[in-house]
Assembly symmetry: C2
Homo-oligomer: 354 residues x 2
Amino acid sequence: MSRFWSQTSKKILPYVPGEQPNDRTYIKLNTNENPYPPSPLVLKAIRENANESLRLYPDPECNELRERIASYYGFNKEEVFVGNGSDEILAFSFMAFFMPDRPLIYPDITYTFYDVYASLFRIQHTIVPLKDDFTIDIKPYCTDGAGIILANPNAPTGIALDIDNLETILRNNPNNIVMIDEAYVDFGATSVMPLIKEYENLLVIQTFSKSRALAGLRVGFAVGNKDLIQGLNRIKNSVNSYPLDRLAIIGAMESISDNAYFQETKQKIINTRERIYENLNDLGMNIIKSKANFMFMCHKEIYGEELFKRLRQKGILVRHFNRPRIDNYIRVTIGKDDEMDIFIEQLKKVISEN
Amino acid sequence: MSRFWSQTSKKILPYVPGEQPNDRTYIKLNTNENPYPPSPLVLKAIRENANESLRLYPDPECNELRERIASYYGFNKEEVFVGNGSDEILAFSFMAFFMPDRPLIYPDITYTFYDVYASLFRIQHTIVPLKDDFTIDIKPYCTDGAGIILANPNAPTGIALDIDNLETILRNNPNNIVMIDEAYVDFGATSVMPLIKEYENLLVIQTFSKSRALAGLRVGFAVGNKDLIQGLNRIKNSVNSYPLDRLAIIGAMESISDNAYFQETKQKIINTRERIYENLNDLGMNIIKSKANFMFMCHKEIYGEELFKRLRQKGILVRHFNRPRIDNYIRVTIGKDDEMDIFIEQLKKVISEN
């Protein structure tokens, strides 16, 4: 701590991303990256655009990329915002719609960055426990008393809410923003995006990092009523005029264009997830049915942190959260089939050695 | 305006970047971009790294890039922070060292983003007028009563403070952060960086956008005592774990490595600036002596906005700020020699047509 730090800097508890160790080669199932490479069209476009144009600022409005996303999902450019990963968009959303005078409500077990933003921007927030089976009880979200942020599917559980429940929440909150963080929606959940035409209080946030295999490029986007998007733009233009560089813009555009590749690779991940469910069950794992590119699971005898450590020793990186209610679980990203076979083999060893 | 916007969102006055029109081909002297392309080594490295690795998150700590910058300037990695352009670093600095309880002081005529950050993060600030000749009177900055941010050279004037004056300010502010924004320092001013070893209250911010011709890649950096850098890291890790993508990291690293190219291109810009000074003088322009890659100037008879508009009609884009005290001036980025010759030719026409 330094005497020069602001109150804010002293008080916040920053987010801790999954580890990226270099000490040996691991099968990396800890940060929900896509095991397949980005579309070849993305890589080709980036190579072609690594030229003299990099001396010039990017388009601060990212018009071409916003048009491409809008047209793919059936919206107008004015209903789309793009940012440096969905995390930056979440941060901007907290500032645009809550900081500092509007209250917010979200579940106890969810993406931990929501806590960080609420603390950083001093936003009054209410935390509602998930039910014992980690599903969301929608009643506390139907009071029209506070803005809402929900990850759907939720992280780190992978459980999705269906559209009917989401619409009930939206209908009961005419005076509050409802933000749905759909970082993992492409892996089997249903997007709430079509409801944007009906609900001016709905903001949907997605990312290119997971289903589009571009975690290394840093692109996320939000879709919502144009007044909400304008609010996000005001914040963006008060923090950093150009958060997306020229190569990220061009890469994301090509990713949207190569729909066949996107559909094929995300389906492969879904297939792998469904295939290994029974294998894991047979090993005595308690697995939550997931609609994401990860699975949340625990073993009846081996404590979560122990499982995490023993798998790490065997060259498998998974994620363990040292937080109440979920400290007995590990979160395992869905890799390629051969990676998951090795994971299961090593997990079997860990269990038999217990 | 939307009823869903937060107080913050309603009240801020966002920054307006220079225009990027597509209606015709302009000689673009309005956003202080470098007229020379980035180093060929930068472009080669980006092309080589546009590969499968983009599916993986970047290093959230940007260790390799921070080491490269640290070693070039004679510091340790722990004394270097990197961000998505120097604007993002400025925003993080305002949060890390001021938000919301510490007062701040800066000049009336300077980079207008400082006003935006102070308003966004609700930081109490005092604005001190520049002297009539647009130089900085250092006395108000020597009271140890508030944190300080100064652009050196200042924008949009291009006037630099010398090291002795900067050290006087540092010595008189043992209890306050002094941030020196050196976005344009490579074009002829003296960096205050060597004083970091002596002054734990000094934070120096630079960018790859101007002298390194990488505005399109979005990389900035800050150097300071490791406790200050840690404060910035806390904010970064509370907003966005990965603001720099893999290609920006690799491109910036190669830019630092190609020192010969950097020295050669920045010297060319300095030479062009000095060469055209007399030509402009002969046209009756009143030009402020600049240490940056732009010149701030006015004409004794043609009002600044008129000059801006007439040059635009002739295919030359410059910047005009509609703000008190400087509304009679235009800011002209230093381009290549042939571009500046066309600028002078067109300016001559504008003046003769008056």
